[in-house]
Amino acid sequence: MNKKTKAFLTALCYIIPGALIVLTFHFIPIFYSLYYSFFKGGLGAKTFVGLSNYIELLKDAEFWASIRHTLFYVVGTVPTTIILSLFIAMLLNSKIKGLSVYRTIYFLPVITSINAVSLVWKWLFHNQHGLLNSVLNGMGFESINWLGDPNWAMISIIIMSIWKGLGYNIIIFLAGLQGIPKHLYESAEIDGAGVWHKFRNITVPMISPVTFFVLVMSTISSFQVFAQVYMMTQGGPAKATTVIVYHLYDKAFQKFQLGASSAIALVLFLMIFTMTLIQRKVAEKKVHYSN
């Protein structure tokens, strides 16, 4: 056996136990979806229809709308989350008192189940007697029909999602920031560097692997947003919050069109996959790995 094969086999020994689980329950299903996507009919009897599910999908205005809504959501959520969580992580990293209390509080939304908090937020967003509108009225602004107005519904979902995911990213950034060697800042200070300069030239490059991690993860999960839509708006009003996964869910389990929904799943998969590859390509140039 040559050395390369041996190295490969050794590595496999470590990878296989976990990979077997992941492949069985999370990878093989992709092939099931591929198979189903060539058939029509959901319950039992199926007829082979070739690519017609895909062709119909491309002609389906609702599908395109769901892609637009998802992109809007991703663009609304990911950058905001990254900026906000980095900002708060930096504040938390400034040797302040009560760090562990802050850390716990900011992490609370992450801990709580999405179903429970969605219901609470639905309440807060309520048009007539939601707390958000009471606050707005109190400050002299007019009420916003958060979840009932097609122009605001997705923004409401975005606000809630940022709230839910912020703590998680803060923790990741905080860990990254604490990993930056102090002496880098100290020597920069000796050179007379200001706050912005230090941020730009030390913090940003040093935490770039963390930023990359957060970027990739939150993009992947944002493309799959579902639970909050399902709980809060059911894709409405006027389909304004019908994101890709909601569309998929609706096709599969409410209209019993398993084939069409499988086709959506695969298209979504390809979209996220391409997105991740692009991010990796960009990252290769920009991300600074210290080792």
């Binding site: 959901g42 319950l43 039992g44 009897a45 009932g148 409405g236 409410q254 209209k255």
Partner: protein
């Protein structure tokens, strides 16, 4: 040390589970097991499981195993997954559109096949049987059928100077106006997307939703136009406002609106919260009386060799028969406010006593003789959703009514005839 504690704890938990896992005797041992997937949670679920316990006691050779599936959405997900590998239960709750889908796949056993001549079909309300008849055959059986009723805040009505609960569409609209004129309340609130109201109005106007074969939509008709105009008047004159799903119940409870239309079953969810004098009433009359039944039916599957043997199917039918006998249907109705399926149950002593104490159920029962149902096409879920979207659009844009009706008609015609 810490690790040791951890390991001990895990070992303890694991053994506990081994023990409980093996220690529990199988209640179905030596009996015919009927697996029943349902979505009745909370108090409704408690009533159902209580009744099933009774049945199991009365029938020592049968064990009905109720398995709770969280809600209707997860139930449909699970049925869908199970149907792929022929792992369905013996019995399940199902909406008509689901049933039609299952029938198309050939995995439902028509309950009619189990009915012997002695089965007194005539004692059932005709609408209940028709609702479960597909292509001339009774496939499913009514299980938890609910009825829309008016919920009225009497205190608000009094304040607005209305002394009689409205019984016609015209009176109702007047009442909304008077309530709104108080400046403190709105007349009503309703879901922007739910078309239950709209469809009921069409029927009250003497119209129909589709033709008999469910191949042709009837939305470009004077009856449908009048129905949509009615709702539009409420929105345009700001006599009522739009909500999500069942949220209008919360509006009613918070004393923001005087009258709402909601399911008879919702009473159980509202009664703990009511802080005012309230009443229920039948839906208002148009040119005639009409109300649309909703809720699910029960179906017997035939495609799982472990759950659907002839003995199990027979046992399942025995359970359905028992569940819908005069006494049980009265009990189920009294406990949950779902509709009794049999005429004779209205004459039982318990029902009469209950109605004397609890007039709220009466309004729903009064509508049974003229109740109708929505189309049963496998596409109907899709149609309903589409109707809801167009209705919502109409309410927000407040444009030309004929345009929306045409859109409804075109869409529904297209869906109904898809794949035909």
């Amino acid at each position: 040390m810490k690790k040791l504690v951890l390991i001990l704890v895990i070992a303890l938990i694991t053994t506990t589970f081994m023990l409980t896992g093996c220690g529990e005797p199988d209640p179905a041992k030596g009996k015919t097991k009927v697996v029943f997937w349902h979505a009745m949670g909370g108090t409704l679920g408690d009533v159902l499981t209580g009744m099933i316990d009774d049945f199991n006691k009365q029938n020592p050779d049968i064990y009905v195993d109720p398995q709770f599936m969280g809600n209707y959405q997860t139930l449909s997900q699970k049925l869908m997954a199970a149907a792929q590998v022929h792992n369905t239960p013996t019995l399940a709750q199902a909406y008509e559109a689901w049933t039609q889908n299952f029938i198309d796949s050939g995995i439902v056993e028509p309950v009619e096949n189990f009915m012997t001549d002695s089965f007194d079909k005539d004692d059932f309300f005709k609408v209940m049987i028709d609702n479960n008849t597909f292509n001339g055959k009774i496939y499913s059986f009514p299980f938890n059928k609910s009825m829309p009723v008016l919920y009225v805040n009497r205190d608000i009505l009094k304040e607005a100077g209305i002394d009689k609960i409205p019984s016609t569409q015209k009176e109702l609209l007047e009442a909304y106006r008077k309530i709104t004129a108080t400046g403190k309340y709105h007349g009503t609130a309703f879901s922007a997307k739910d078309v239950w109201n709209f469809l009921c109005l069409i029927l009250q106007n003497g119209g129909k939703i589709t033709n008999e074969d469910e191949t042709k939509a009837y939305f470009q008709t004077p009856e449908a136009k009048k129905a949509l105009e009615y709702l539009m008047t409420i929105i345009k004159e700001d006599l009522g406002y739009l909500t999500n799903g069942y949220d209008h119940q919360a509006e009613f409870l918070a004393k923001k609106v005087g009258i709402i239309t909601s399911s008879s079953v919702s009473k159980a969810y509202m009664e703990d919260s009511v802080t005012f004098d309230w009443a229920t009433a039948p839906l208002p009359k148009g040119v005639k009386n009409a109300a649309i039944l909703s809720g699910t039916n029960i179906i017997i599957f035939n495609d799982n060799k472990d759950n659907c043997s002839p003995e199990q199917q027979a046992a399942a039918w025995k359970f359905i028969k028992w569940f819908t006998d005069t006494e049980q249907t009265a009990y189920w109705s009294i406990m949950t406010n779902y509709m009794p399926v049999r005429k004779s149950s209205l004459d039982t002593k318990q029902m009469k006593e209950h109605l004397a104490k609890e007039p709220l159920l009466k309004a729903a029962l009064d509508q049974l003789p003229y109740a109708q149902f929505e189309p049963k096409s496998s596409k109907w879920y899709q149609c309903r959703q589409e109707l809801g979207d167009i209705q919502e659009k109409a309410f927000t844009e407040k444009g030309d009514i004929d345009k929306y009706l045409k859109e409804m008609n075109d869409k529904i015609n297209k869906f109904l005839n898809e794949g035909k």
